[in-house]
């Protein structure tokens, strides 16, 4: 399984945010203490398709992949270029992939990579495809109001491209997946879809009790409830994933969770009693890039030599939906 990633062109630093907010509770050092993030990549004009093409081109170059061998494209995003057509179709064309291949988008956030792997596994297993290009591409910052400190300090924009091949099938473990749509309102862009089309009404800005400004056109996150959901859902999911894959917690070489922010990750690590050296935290320079965090983290962990070919990793995603999912993978 080969992965490359592509970050949005601008870097948004804590120093810049601290100066802009001019609020002692949101100084550069406090933002770092709260989130563990120093800088996040943000788009200026780029679209999800641009980041997706950037990541895929890098994948082809860095790993010497012949693009004409790709026979399925799966693209995960929640900030597509258009309602329609499908972003994956636009990306097929821009990448110059064959026209005799399947391509589709799927709409998930922080669990996109896990669900994408399980979809790719299915396509490969039944022989519909032999080389699946799996792209996570997200520009959440386009949903974020610049004066919403609770989200702007956390999210970054990036894409990751992974090639999943038939030969990889023996490396796949079993998946544990979960869904609870009752949590939908806690992480949401309330307007812009058919339920509530954008209008002058939805664009009206409001300031919440913490001083964050947003309208219904923007991303809303109920931080405390999302945090609490994570603590309720993730430890159980990890236990089930180990059980289902018949491995002990000690046999996992590296735990690579969705890189939400350092605070959440440290809480989960403590709760699961995973030793620091086997629990990956890497948010400083990228922030929370939603579905792209897990493949970016995997690639960085490989580059740093923390894992290598045949290492056993446990991947876990959790978030918007609510949706959660985990699996064990032999690299």
């Amino acid at each position: 399984m080969k992965t490359s990633f592509f970050l949005a062109s601008e870097a948004l630093s804590n120093q810049f945010l601290g100066e802009e907010y001019n609020d002692p509770k949101w100084s550069a050092s406090k933002i770092y203490r709260k989130t563990g993030i120093r800088s996040r990549p943000v788009v200026k004009n780029e679209l999800v398709s641009d980041l997706a093409v950037g990541a895929a081109e890098r994948l082809f170059n860095e790993h010497g992949i012949d693009r004409s061998t790709v026979d399925f494209l799966l693209l995960c995003t929640q900030s597509p270029d258009y309602f329609l057509p499908t972003t994956a179709c636009l990306v097929q064309d821009r990448l110059g992939l064959r026209t005799s291949i399947g391509a589709l988008d799927f709409n998930l956030g922080c669990t996109g990579f896990i669900y994408g792997l399980s979809l790719a596994q299915g396509l490969l297993c039944v022989g519909t495809a032999s080389k699946v290009l799996l792209i996570m591409s997200e520009t959440y910052t386009r949903h974020i109001h610049p004066l919403d400190k609770s989200t702007r300090t956390i999210f970054g924009d990036a894409a990751a491209a992974t090639l999943v091949e038939k030969e990889d099938l023996p490396r796949f473990g079993k998946f544990v997946l979960g869904t609870d749509g009752s949590g939908g309102p806690n992480l949401i862009v309330p307007s812009g879809g058919m339920a509530r089309p954008r209008s002058a009404e939805t664009a009206k800005e409001e300031t919440d009790e913490a001083g964050n400004v947003r309208s219904m056109d923007n991303l809303y996150m109920n931080g405390p409830e999302i945090f609490s959901f994570t603590l309720r859902a993730v430890p159980d999911m990890i236990r089930q994933t180990l059980e289902k894959n018949e491995v002990s917690a000690e046999e996992i070489d590296l735990y690579v969770f969705h890189q939400a922010n350092r605070f959440i990750l440290e809480n989960l690590r403590d709760r699961l009693e995973i030793p620091e050296e086997r629990f990956y935290i890497d948010v400083e320079e990228t922030g929370n890039t939603v579905s792209a965090t897990i493949p970016i983290a995997l690639r960085n962990a490989l580059d740093k030599g923390l894992v290598h070919k045949d290492s056993k990793v446990l991947l876990a995603g959790f978030g918007v939906g609510y949706s959660w999912g985990a699996t064990v993978l032999r690299l």
């Binding site: 109920n222 945090f227 603590l231 605070f263």
Partner: protein, 70 residues
């Protein structure tokens, strides 16, 4: 009791003198979303309690937090 109040003050990064059972959370400057998250984290770590959305919303005074610290 003193110990529990100290845990709450510590989680909120607030002065100990400000934390009494009758303290109204909304009146504390530290009771912002990060403060709420820190208290949820403390309850999870020390007392293995995971609050649901309505339980979080119902936290009005320090006594309510103490109620989960059994």
């Amino acid at each position: 009791m003193e110990e529990k109040l100290a845990l709450i003050a510590d989680a909120l990064d607030a002065e100990k003198e400000l934390i009494h059972p009758q303290t109204i959370l909304e009146e504390l400057e530290e009771w912002d979303s990060m403060g709420v998250i820190a208290v949820i984290s403390m309850l999870d770590k020390k007392y293995k309690v995971q609050l649901k959305a309505d339980q979080i919303k119902a936290l009005k005074t320090v006594a309510h937090i103490l109620g989960y610290m059994q």
